[in-house]
Amino acid sequence: MKWETVIGLEVHAELSTKSKIFCGCTTDFGGKPNTHVCPVCSGMPGTLPRLNRAVVEYAMRAGLVLNCTITQKCKFDRKNYFYPDLPKAYQVSQLYAPICRDGFMEIESGGHKKRIGIREIHMEEDAGKLLHDPQSGTTHMDFNRCGVPLLEIVSQPDFKSGTEALSYLEQLRETLLYLGVCDCKMQEGSLRADVNLSVRPVGGEMGVRTEMKNLNSFKAISRAIEYEASRQIEVLEKGGKIVQETRRWDDDKGESYGMRSKENAQDYRYFPEPDLLPIEIDDEWLARIRETLPELANQKRERYIRDYGLTEFDAAVLTGHKNISDLFEDVLKRSGEPLESAHLITGEIMRLMNGTNTPPEELSPDPGKLANLVSLVLSGKINRNAYKETVEAVFTGDVDPEAYIAEKGLIMVSDSGAIHNAVAKVLNDNPGAVSDYRAGKDRAFGFLMGQSMKMLNGTGDPGMLRKTLKETLDNQANL
């Protein structure tokens, strides 16, 4: 029998607001256990939540770019369950009136475009973390993460393969980064995804689905999908039945195991959160958020090609991460030179990032200094060699470019006397190469050119040098 896989994704994105969803504590990752806490986020008796409006705005931004309808009177609900990482024993979330509904995102997979439905996006608070100490056999509670705002983005079961799911996740990640609502660091848990998966005979009735949790990287998601689809097919082909259950992925073993089945499913006893008023989103607020939506990666790519004449490849490199396109646009704004700025980033900067293993998240060269260098090379103050050297010095040591150039004597030599002297000395010192050139060996010209540039400490004006060398050689031949 031919089987097809049906996948839906639930993505949790931690919002990068300064403070938590219901109190003033910082959302910074890390920090000693229980130092980013207050009576509210640690759920002390008698405390009450107060909503951080920035969270609502971030959710609206995400909802708008994902083509959702914004619920203009939305509410919070309580999801009740006991676990030591949840100090109130309920999570404030949204069930009955989530802030965003019925959206979609276009993805590209295997050369095809496909529209993936977004069922809903809701706001909620994150839970804390438990730290197990195997040595003493004790468990410690860290509430720093309690109350960090989350968006849960729930897709329709519209994926047919792991490839499609990954393509969606990558694009969603890029979108959230460009919106500036989430830093999307999977290793820090700021972006997490649960996978709902079932299989069915091609075109047949929907199968029973399982939900997989603990997926900490795109690679793990891809492997888990592959594993679960073949596990389900194997069970069904042997005449077995799929149990509706939650499964935990073990990335080290490359397999998942059942955590709890539907019969043991938790009853979360959701009900409206009485400590918070409904959120009224009026048209004016919505319009203001709509107007301030940033340009997204695909829109940027199109604009770079259309307005700056960049190649599709360069445009894609520049929009590969928000920090890269931000750097490009900043250098461009200051220098006014789109092509040179683009090539600086796609060339030297990308080379330096690769060479130093710098991830885009940590990209930090001073755009003002880079723009300065762009102007210097275009105006002929420095040549390409000096340009590359100084860009590297700015990238690695944040040097002042003008001071660096002066100190290293990198100002381009276009003085004809100096160039003539250098050429004369090189020709005088290398009679062999001169006769090779005369014998028609073109490579000898390159050698003489290099020697002359070296004589000028690499700072000679390459055009002038070339011209002078050629003229001198030709003049001498005519003598």
């Binding site: 008698g46 009740n80 006893r269 009900f271 918070l276 008023l277």
Partner: protein, 485 residues
């Protein structure tokens, strides 16, 4: 000194006739003399109160004195006080000391008042007799073999016995008004959203409201002005400014329209209670108000809707007491699930467990629509009904409870009978309305009877004005219990 009203006491202190320290030590003395019998206090912070009284006294000359500067006060023990035990009269909160003050505690201190102790109550404010707490029942100062009412029984009994000139209670389904009626004192249940709940340990969040209890409406109004007002830490506290009742001083009530719910006086109400409450209505007529009877709709749905909603919220609010972080933990527990199960089974009392189970049930899947959702619909209908009534009437006059104070232990094993005692009070909380509870006489056994005036949302000024007229014309609120004094 103990016979002065709170406002008179503060005047005397501000005039230099008395000191705040004298006032505090006199009241601490009263508590030490009588509370062995009443059990109204859970804790008495003697040294802290004396130190605070000295500090307040130093400010009396300068600073900005308020009408309640120097007045001692005691607080129901479900309201957080930084660094001092806040127990909710439960074993579950054994050893718990809040790290912060409830907003109203800060407000009391800013007004120059001195907190001397924490008051007994039903466990987690669940009950109508102040018998369900872990520290024993509160006894009624008029007859110590009887209950003080609840859940703010300690707050009402302490005020009635003059252990304190003013106290703070909380009202979720009648918990200020009913003990006031049972103990013959005055209390106000404010509009939901008039007083910050920050620091009030929640029973039912959408119903709970903190309010004043005292010996007359002027003292209560002054205290309500102090504790009301907006609070950044409570987004449901929607009031714009603290109350100012200085304008609500009338001689008569001409033109004021009062509604009297005829069906509240039909079945199940004691004859003596009925007689005293109807006499109060008569008094309002004589003061110039018109009194018109009407039938209160939805009466049979009020108690069920209240218990479904209150217990649902309570089941969630009380889940945080899990034995892990603070409070009681069973020493028999070996696994995580045993910590939860045994700590909660041993730490909570019977009534609290009953309500947690009821609340968990009505929220569970398959029952939500049949119970909780229905109750919310009834709640909306009750709100609408009141809105309609306040187009016709300025206020509604009703009994507070169908009976006077009953014997200790009389109803403790009959929860249904106990719950039906809330019939006249719970709809006010479901609709989020304000009400004042005022003494209006005595039954044949000499036990106090109370009535309530219910107003539209944020119509406290009208209610206070009417209550002032009533208390100027009557002396029920000036009567003192003989038994314990």
């Amino acid at each position: 000194m103990l016979e002065l009203s709170a406002l008179e006491l503060s005047s005397a202190i501000r005039a230099g006739k008395l000191s705040a320290t004298e006032a505090v030590s006199a009241y601490i003395g009263a508590v030490e003399r009588t509370d062995g019998q009443l059990n109204a206090f859970i804790s008495l912070g003697k040294e802290r109160a004396m130190a605070r009284a000295k500090a307040v006294q130093q400010l009396v000359g300068g600073g900005k004195p308020t009408p309640l500067t120097g007045v001692p006060i005691a607080i129901k023990d479900n309201i957080s006080t930084a660094g001092t035990a806040t127990t909710c009269a439960s074993k579950m909160l054994d050893g718990y000391n809040p790290v912060f003050n409830a907003t109203i505690v800060d407000k009391l201190e800013r007004a120059g008042m001195i907190v001397i102790g924490k008051l007994n109550m039903d466990e987690f404010a669940m009950g109508g007799s102040s018998e369900t707490g872990a520290f024993g029942p509160v006894r009624n100062p008029w007859d110590v073999s009887r209950v003080a009412g609840g859940s703010s029984g300690g707050s009402a009994a302490a005020a009635a016995a003059r252990e304190i000139p003013l106290s703070i209670g909380s009202d979720t389904g009648g918990s200020i008004r009913q003990p006031c009626a049972f103990c013959g004192v005055t209390g106000v249940k404010p509009t939901y959203g008039a007083v910050s709940r920050y620091g009030l340990i929640a029973y039912a969040s959408s119903l709970d409201q903190i309010g004043p209890i005292g010996n007359n409406i002027d003292d209560c109004a002054a205290l309500l002005s102090v504790i009301s007002g907006p609070d950044d830490q409570d987004s449901t506290c929607v009031i714009n400014n603290p109350f100012d009742f200085s304008g609500a001083r009338f001689e008569r009530l001409d033109g004021v329209k009062i509604g009297l719910p005829r069906n509240y006086f039909a079945d199940g109400i004691d004859e003596d209670v009925k007689r005293a409450v109807l006499a109060a209505a008569k008094e309002f007529e004589e003061a110039g108000a018109s009194v018109e009877e009407f039938d209160m709709p939805l009466m049979e749905y009020m108690v069920p809707a209240y218990y479904i909603i209150a217990c649902a919220e309570a089941s969630s609010n009380l889940s945080r007491y899990d034995g892990l972080k603070y409070g009681y933990r069973s020493d028999k527990a070996n696994t995580l699930s045993e910590v939860y199960r045994l700590s909660r089974s041993e730490g909570f009392g019977l009534e609290v467990k009953r309500r947690i189970m009821l609340g968990s049930f009505v929220l569970s899947s398959g029952y939500y629509d049949a119970y909780y959702k229905k109750a919310l619909q009834i709640r909306a209908l009750i709100k609408d009904a009141y809105s309609g009534l306040f187009e016709r009437f300025d206020m509604i006059l009703s009994p507070v409870a169908p009976t006077t104070a009953y014997k200790l232990g009389e109803n403790i094993d009959d929860p249904m009978k106990m719950y039906m005692g809330d019939i006249y009070t719970v709809s006010v909380n479901l609709a989020g309305l304000p009400a004042v509870s005022l003494p209006c006489g005595f039954d044949g056994q000499g036990l106090p009877v109370g009535f309530q005036l219910i107003g539209d949302a944020f119509a406290e000024e009208k209610l206070i004005g009417a209550a002032r007229v009533y208390q100027r014309r009557t002396d029920h609120h000036t009567k003192r219990p003989g038994g314990a004094a």
